[in-house]
């Protein structure tokens, strides 16, 4: 009996040690993952800031140079994938995930504003699509809308699609919602300053954006 008690205890200590080590390693790896996203976002923020500064300082900067320097969309899309994966694994309520998501959303808004300025200066006519979704139970068609937009972005990489979590607590996002006068119905799209509510198929989107066939420049961020 005594030998058994000793064995129970040793087994418990070993199992607890392994379990604790796994928890610690998992926490460390998750922190490293968050840190990696943070680092990429910081790089993007620096790039945007740098471009903005160049834009402000050197009005004579050629449009070609700006276009060459403004290829942030791929990086934003990469961050989008990473944030989405981390959100899935750590949970949407995780404080760090929320922080990264807010930062990512801000970066998208910054990129949107900058690209609008660049378009104005350089006489470009890119198509901006703002997509508002929800991960909560109040948007049955958001998943479907995400697939349609991703497919559209694959077909027309020149589209600039920005996706925003409607319920994210971020003042800049609230302002964006107010400016665009959204009524809360989801999914919602802003195309050419005009709001569209409910699911829009690829065919409907193509009909809404007649200039889609003539797009040549710019690229897009991945839709969620």
């Amino acid at each position: 009996m005594q030998q058994n008690n000793k064995r129970y205890l040793i087994a418990f200590v070993i199992a607890a040690a392994i379990f604790g080590t796994a928890l610690a390693i998992s926490t460390t790896l998750n922190n490293a993952r968050l840190e990696q996203i943070r680092a990429i976002q910081e790089n993007i923020a620096t790039d945007i800031l740098s471009l903005e500064t160049q834009f402000e300082l050197l009005s004579e900067l050629s449009c070609r140079d700006i276009r060459e320097n403004s290829v942030l969309s791929e990086e934003l899309a990469d961050v989008s994938r990473r944030v989405a994966y981390t959100e899935e694994k750590l949970g949407a309520e995780n404080a760090e995930v929320l922080r990264l998501k807010r930062q990512y959303t801000l970066l998208q808004i910054k990129d949107l504003l900058l690209m609008k300025k660049v378009s104005q200066k350089c006489g470009l006519e890119p198509v901006f699509i703002l997509y508002f979704y929800s991960n909560e139970q109040d948007c049955a068609d958001c998943e479907r809308q995400g697939y349609a937009l991703t497919a559209l972005a694959e077909e027309y990489p020149q589209l600039r699609i920005y996706s925003f979590d409607y319920h994210l607590d971020l003042p800049a996002l609230t302002t964006l919602l107010t400016i665009n006068d959204l009524n809360g119905e989801l999914p919602a799209l802003i195309i050419g300053e005009k709001p569209y509510y409910g699911f829009k198929s690829m065919e409907e989107l193509t009909a809404i954006i007649p200039e889609i066939e003539t797009l040549t420049a710019a690229s897009s961020t991945e839709a969620r």
């Binding site: 009996m1 030998q3 058994n4 064995r7 129970y8 040793i10 087994a11 418990f12 070993i14 199992a15 392994i18 379990f19 796994a22 928890l23 390693i25 998992s26 926490t27 790896l29 998750n30 993952r33 990696q36 990473r82 994966y85 694994k89 949970g91 998943e143 479907r144 697939y147 349609a148 991703t150 497919a151 694959e154 198929s201 690829m202």
Partner: protein
């Protein structure tokens, strides 16, 4: 933290604890003593047969080839009312003085064993299912272990006989893992199954506890539980090689495992006073409770997988319905970022590592070879089909609907 996450972590901890406990029990198990000249006792090996015309001849031939003093070994083949050609096959062996052939109306394996028990005065009685075969050294090795330990019974290492089909290779790894588990259970004095293939018992102990009983199609578990309940010790001899015919199809495997699991659950219910009972040592406090929890764990995790896969399939359906098949997801680049490193996943990786180690230990113990595909197949196939037989057995146990033999 979500409730499902807490449950998952709790179950994973129990699984980890059980594996560590088994490993400790194995490490602390007694090493075989030095070989010396021992008086080998008389042994009767009983072969109960019910419609075994295809395999019983090879079973008997393997027994006749045993390296054991001829005057100390008797073989009793009991035809338990077979409807096929078993009687004719047994008739061919009746001339051999070492073999006694008995015939009776069908009454189940326990009745065949009990009939043989009344017809022998050998000191030890073994059982060998008519679809199993022994290595020539098997009896001598088992008897040396048994005599030296003064236990009431000894179990062997059971291996798959000449695997050819993929499902047999799959079972080969499982049987090798069982070699380790039997040894570890014996180390913890917690053996609760004395398998039909070549478990050997002290005859006087069998008589004291009343021989074999009808027990939900798993008499080999019932008799071991009864021995444990009566405080008799059961040991294991991992070097005793016994080969058994494994199911050759998933359907046959499913039926066999439903019967085994159903029998386990029903016998456990019959002996429920032992579960959680500290007076039965590790058997009562760790082994039997973990065996029950493991069934729950597999079914719980399987249900999570089903929910996850259903969600994925639904998403895929929505995607195809929305954008068609032309937009198939691209194969993601190998980026370490996307490797699942949640604590549950890491513990699952550790448990898999443990399982692989235990299989390797079982291989070393039984000095056997494994087909290269055996372990990968076991890891890939069992996780998909085991939940079905566990659920099937659980339903049968709930309905008290016995699982058929064939």
């Amino acid at each position: 933290m979500e409730i499902s996450t807490i449950i998952t972590h709790g179950l994973l901890f129990i699984a980890l604890y059980a594996e560590v406990f088994l490993l400790l029990a194995f490490l602390e198990s007694e090493a075989p003593r030095k070989r010396g000249r021992l008086r080998l006792p008389s042994v009767a090996i009983v072969v109960p047969c019910f419609n075994e015309e295809g395999t019983v001849a090879a079973t008997l031939r393997s027994l006749l080839a045993l390296d054991y003093p001829k005057n100390k070994l008797s073989i009793i083949a009991v035809d338990d009312g077979s409807a096929d050609g078993t009687a004719q096959v047994l008739g061919q062996f009746a001339k051999d003085q070492r073999i006694t052939v008995l015939s009776k109306q069908n009454g189940g394996k326990h009745s065949a064993m009990n009939l043989a028990l009344t017809r022998t005065d050998a000191e030890y009685i073994g059982c060998l299912d008519a679809d199993s075969f022994v290595a020539p050294s098997a009896l001598k090795i088992s008897m040396r272990c048994l005599i030296q330990s003064e236990a009431a019974a000894v179990t062997p290492a059971i291996l798959v006989h000449k695997p050819k089909h993929f499902i047999e290779f799959t079972q080969q790894a499982e049987y090798t893992l069982s070699v380790f588990i039997r040894r570890a259970f014996a180390g913890a004095n917690a053996v609760f199954i004395t398998p039909g293939p070549f478990s050997i018992f002290k005859r006087d102990v069998l008589l004291k506890i009343g021989g074999w009983k009808h027990a939900h199609g798993t008499e080999d578990m019932e008799i071991a539980m009864r021995l444990q309940k009566n405080r008799y010790r059961i040991i294991n001899s991992p070097k005793t090689q016994v080969f058994t015919t494994a199911p050759k199809s998933i359907r046959a495997l499913y039926k066999q495992r439903v019967r085994w699991t159903y029998g386990f659950l029903m016998n456990l219910w019959d002996y429920r006073q032992m579960v959680g009972n500290r007076s039965f040592g590790a058997l009562g406090t760790v082994i039997l409770p973990s065996a029950v929890i493991s069934i729950g764990t597999v079914l719980y995790l399987a249900s999570l997988v089903v929910i996850h896969l259903t969600n994925r399939m639904w998403s895929l359906f929505i995607k195809v319905d929305t954008v068609g098949l032309a937009y198939e997801p691209a194969i993601p680049a190998l980026d370490p970022f996307f490797i699942n490193t949640t604590s549950a996943a890491l513990i699952a990786y550790i448990l898999i590592g443990f399982a692989l180690t235990l299989i390797w230990l079982g291989k070393q113990l039984s000095e056997t070879r494994l087909h290269p595909w055996s372990v990968p197949l076991y890891m890939m196939v069992y996780c998909w089909i085991a939940p079905f037989w566990l659920a099937g057995a659980l339903i049968r146990a709930g309905l008290r609907a016995p699982a058929p033999w064939r």
